[in-house]
């Protein structure tokens, strides 16, 4: 019974720890890690305004 031949695909799908690892890693990398990288690489506004010649808006202002 237990020593019957099962295909590799069936073994893969029967392995819940493999499924768990895939299910955490794929969204963990593509969604979460990449997203955090995007957010932390947003350039600062003041540099941009200086670049387009609006630096006079950056000071004073009350």
């Amino acid at each position: 019974m237990s020593n019957e031949i099962r295909t590799l695909g069936q073994k893969m799908f029967d392995n819940i720890w493999f499924l768990l690892a895939v299910g955490i890693l794929v969204p963990g990398i593509f969604y979460f890690a990449w997203g955090m990288l995007e957010i932390y690489s947003v350039p600062p506004l003041s540099d941009y305004l200086k670049q387009i010649g609006l630096s006079d808006l950056l000071t004073g202002g009350k």
Binding site: F13, L19, G23, I24, V26, G28, F30, Y31, G35, E38
Partner: protein, 533 residues
């Protein structure tokens, strides 16, 4: 019967022959009953919210009450009702379906206790402290006290331990010899749900633990933490939307289960169905990005890559189920002799069985409305027409309410006799309940979707207060449809709640044999134990 170390008390279900682990049955009971209690709270909130939105000039409740109630509606329905029911489902799928025992019963009780404390804390914070930050709780908007965040964290921790316990229960079932070979498809669906849930709850921890620490300054403990709104949104939706993908996986599993329980359907091709679940596991959580498609801070490459779910892998998964479930039913029905024409099998299906009618309504509404609108609104460019207007609730009422909640309700009609040994009090009411609820919620969905197309924002107490002539009269009549549909759906929901509660407490008890069972299969570890003793 000679017991070995693994033997446990079981009850055999007369109708199905399934063995139910007795300690697990109690756990199933508390989780299912908790789910229905929070469903009732959410339902009362739902009718108030629907009437307020449907008839904005009537001002049925005040503005601050409306936002509190909407917060309560979201959290109780989307989190407490559904997750408690899913925990009950995990226990059922790991024990009764496999004929196995549930390990670490005491830990499981501990999980339930912290989940219930968490859920009560959140409701306390909403109703007594007036927290009205919505289900989303975007900072810098803050709840009235740390109880709100603490409640969510506690609830999530309890659910997370449950998920791991479920996975371990499967390993134990095999190791001790309760079950052999591959998992049944229904349990495989629950594995998918549990894996998605683990990712979800980890993201939930990353989101709400900092929010909790930040909010501790209300109690005089300033930890100097700042929460970046963009980061919160990213991690929150990793939690908030993935939580709905748990529902999806659990619901599809229940569809297969209902197909089996009602017409004896068997999956036409196990490999194909399992591939579809595997596509969910790898790709579906990327879809959380579609809440952030019109957000600043994220660039198009990232948005497009994620919102395609790895080239629509998850959508392909759903389209596979969309065919393999009806195909399984068709094959089973044709075998019974309903072979005339294209659709005799469908016409002669048991439409008066809530399990079947609920399955059909849930499948059609989920697919034709929920799934299609979901894919459309998660196209990066098209999202600009959808973001935060009433089309979004229109979409998720089709998926989570007409799809998941209805499937959960009708499977409850099957599980109460099977797992709780109680007869359903009113079979007649159960028969019409899916139709009443389905019609009501369809009106809500249509109303919301078309009002959203005409620009009506979601989460607004009274769109008149923006000024006259901002929205067309068509938008107002669509809101009326939401109000009326809300009433009908509420009646349908009450029919379920009353029937389920009465059955669980006062239903006729179904007698069944209680016996000590040994694991039916010999395994290496079981042999080792017998050798020791």
């Amino acid at each position: 019967m000679n017991g070995n170390k693994f033997s446990n008390q079981f009850r055999t279900c007369e109708a199905t022959g399934l063995k139910v682990h007795l300690p697990a049955q109690k756990l199933f009971w508390v989780n299912a009953v908790s789910a229905v209690v929070f469903l009732l709270v959410g339902a009362i909130m739902a009718i108030m919210v629907a009437l307020t939105r449907g008839f904005p000039s009537a001002h049925i409740i005040t503005d601050s009450m409306f936002y509190q109630f909407l917060t309560a509606h979201g959290t109780n329905m989307l989190v407490f009702w559904i997750v408690f029911f899913e925990m009950a489902g995990l226990i059922f799928g790991a024990t009764a379906i496999l004929g196995s025992r549930f390990p670490a019963i005491k830990l499981a009780w501990f999980n339930w206790i912290i989940m219930i404390i968490g859920a009560i804390m959140v409701n306390y914070s909403i109703f007594w402290e007036g927290t009205d930050v919505m289900f989303t709780a975007y900072p810098p908007l803050a709840a009235k006290s740390p109880f709100f965040y603490l409640g969510i964290v506690l609830f999530a921790v309890g659910a997370l331990i449950y998920c791991f316990q479920f996975l371990i229960a499967l390993v134990i079932a095999k190791k001790e010899g309760w079950h052999e070979g591959s998992l049944p498809l229904f349990t495989f669906a629950l594995v998918t749900a549990a894996i998605i849930a683990i990712f979800t709850l980890l993201m939930g921890a990353i989101t709400f633990v900092p929010a909790l620490l930040f909010s501790l300054k209300d109690w005089g403990l300033d930890l100097g933490i700042n929460i970046d709104p963009a980061v919160f949104r990213l991690t929150f939706w990793g939690f908030g939307h993935s939580a709905q993908q748990i529902n999806l996986a659990a619901m599809v599993g229940i569809w297969y289960l209902l197909g089996t329980l009602t017409v004896g359907a068997q999956p036409v091709n196990e490999k194909l169905s399992r591939w579809a679940f595997f596509l969910y596991i790898i790709a579906i959580n990327l879809g959380s990005i579609h809440h952030l498609l019109v957000d600043p801070a994220l660039k198009s490459t990232y948005k497009i890559f994620n919102t395609t779910y790895l080239m629509y892998a998850a959508v392909i998964g759903s389209l596979i189920h969309a065919v393999s479930i009806p195909a399984a039913i068709e094959v089973a029905q044709r075998k019974k002799g309903y072979t005339k024409g294209l659709f005799q099998w469908l016409r002669k299906a048991p439409w008066s069985d809530p399990g079947f009618s609920g399955l059909a309504i849930s499948l059609v509404m989920f697919g034709f409305i929920g799934g299609v609108t979901g894919v459309v609104m998660s196209v990066e460019q098209l999202n600009i027409l959808h973001h935060n207007n009433l089309r979004v609730p229109g979409h998720f009422h089709a998926t989570v309410v007409a799809g998941t909640s209805l499937a959960f309700m009708v499977v409850a009609y099957k599980l109460i006799p099977l797992a709780l040994q109680r007869k359903i009090v009113s079979e007649k009411m159960a028969k019409i309940q899916p139709y009443v609820f389905g019609i009501g919620i369809l009106m809500v969905i249509v109303g919301m979707t078309f009002a959203g197309i005409m620009g009506v924002p979601r989460r607004s107490w009274d769109i008149n207060s923006l000024g006259a002539n901002i929205f067309s009269s068509g938008a107002y009549s669509m809101l009326v449809l939401v109000g009326i549909g809300g009433v009908v759906a509420f009646i349908g929901l009450l029919m379920f709640i009353v029937n389920a509660v009465l059955s669980v407490f006062f239903g006729k008890k179904i007698p069944s044999k209680i016996e000590i069972h040994n694991p039916p299969y010999e395994t290496a570890s079981a042999k080792a134990v017998t050798a020791e003793s």
